[in-house]
């Protein structure tokens, strides 16, 4: 084929351009699905509980990812500030992941357990009341009631993309083996609403025990971030064999 015939035929030029560009994408992305070391083998990573998952949906709705990343990179300054670098395994149940690409605020990948529930609630309602120099906006409306009636549909949708929430007895048994009974019970899709209520009642997330609010869900989600893997179990250097 002569070069000229490509240049003067715009349809052919577009098709061939797409072919060439997609080679770049395919070569970079497709092998990651087949390479064994892409997702590290670690214990402890589990799907979000229904309340945490709803909190995550609030996080996405409010666009937290626009200012907060959830990915600690393997550099000394990041380790000193945020803790152990993030693993691929830690976001394997995230759809979509919240790695983000911009840090106007700090990284949140390991924010779980760093602050008390009271602080989280107060800070989300009015950040400057605790951190006067902060430029984060206020989110007072998070104290509104949480809509959790559709949690089961949400869990089903996530199951369709690979999150092991269970529909059948066999799936439940597999979850018991993998995550323990307490966790597996919360991952039963039919128990979704019950789980949300139980989890909201189990801990004083937002200081208002009378009502399940969006704040309850969001704080529950923030408090679990980065806490699933016990890094004291892993030898330094173990994770470098996966890259």
């Amino acid at each position: 084929m002569k070069h000229e015939s490509i240049e003067i035929n715009s349809a052919l030029l577009i098709i061939l351009t797409l072919v060439v560009i997609s080679i770049g994408g395919l070569v970079e992305i497709v092998p990651l699905f087949h390479i064994k070391g892409t997702v590290e083998k670690v214990e402890g990573v589990h799907p979000y509980t229904p309340l945490e998952q709803l909190g995550r949906d609030v996080y996405v709705r409010e666009g937290c990812y626009l200012c907060h990343s959830q990915q600690i990179r393997p550099f000394r300054d990041e380790q000193l500030r945020y803790g152990h670098y993030s693993l691929a395994a830690e976001s394997k149940y995230d759809h979509p992941f919240q790695w983000g690409s911009k840090r106007t605020g700090p990284d949140l990948a390991r924010v779980g357990g760093k602050y008390s529930n009271e602080w989280m609630t107060q800070h989300l309602i009015h950040p400057q009341s605790l951190v006067p120099e902060s430029i984060m906006p206020s989110y007072p409306w998070l104290m509104q009631p949480l809509k959790y009636q559709d949690i089961e549909a949400r869990m089903k949708a996530l199951r369709d993309v690979g999150v092991p929430y269970s529909l059948t007895k066999a799936e439940y048994e597999a979850n018991v083996k993998k995550f323990g009974k307490d966790m597996a019970d919360q991952f039963v899709i039919a128990n979704g609403i019950k789980s949300v209520k139980a989890e909201a009642a189990a801990e004083n997330w937002d200081g208002n025990p009378k009502e399940i609010t969006e704040m309850d869900a969001l704080v529950a989600y923030l408090q679990v971030l980065g806490t699933m893997v016990d890094f004291s179990k892993y030898n330094q250097g173990y994770f470098s064999t996966f890259r």
Binding site: P31, K36, R243
Partner: protein, 325 residues
Amino acid sequence: MSQSPENKKGQVETTGHVWDGDLREYNNPLPRWWLWGFYGTIIFAVVYWILYPAWPYADTYTKGISTVSFQSPVIGPDGKPEKGADGQPKMETKTEHWNSRALFYQEMQSSPSAVAQKEWLAKVKDMSFEQIAANPDTLNFARSMGHGLFGDHCAACHGTGGQGHLAMNPEGSYPNLADNAWIHGSSYEKIVSAITNGIQGNMPAFGALYKGEKLTDLAQYVLSLSHQPGVNEEAANRGKASFATCAGCHGANGQGNQAIGAPNLTDQAWAFVDVPGAKNYDDKLKLVEGVIDHGLQHQMPKFGDRLSPEQIRLLAVYVRQLGGT
């Protein structure tokens, strides 16, 4: 050296297109510098493939011949890190193919800033808290390292200068670390324990026990302990009897008990409700009544699995020198 098209006519091939009767397009070869640049990128890619991880195949990929070495703890047969003769974890040199995580371990161990910091950490390792604070050089080190740690881990609640937050509601209040009042004690050991294990602050609610006038009288008495102007002495005297319940934690005279974190009620430092900031005496009374009525629940998270013991030691020195006696 630009030549007019007239001069080049017939010497350089044209594409054959003609516009407006006489506009032609030269079909010149690619500039030499551009062509060599292009070949250069191809050579660069081949060198890269040889040195670094590059081509995927089957369920793995070519790792390249470039390597990174770093120190890694020796794992014993029981799956736990082995300890050497000096009590420190035994280290071995591990060599991995070039990757960002191995480079990170190398950076943590042997980058200039890591080495410089390690030198100082070794210096203060066997010093007591008092020795670190007494030596200007080590105190400066504790201050500079503590300042960073405090900013990352403590300042969100206790303020950048450790001044804390005092609000009208207990949920918005966080203790001041820069004043003379220490709720849990000012010893280094106490500070280390608070940072490592966190604090579960809990004052029970006494709303069921004290209501109406009784509650007001008790609040009057509490305010009289710190000599707030405007106290109704008569009511305070009536409330004194009820204070026996409070004395179990706050002491018979309200002087507090650092062992269980019960604040001193006789000084002017308030940690959880902004009594000094209240508009008038009635508002002060309401704040104290609210605390007695609902109790207080205050959590400080534990930082023991977030910070290393060395970091916590230096942070304790930093926190201690923020406050007074």
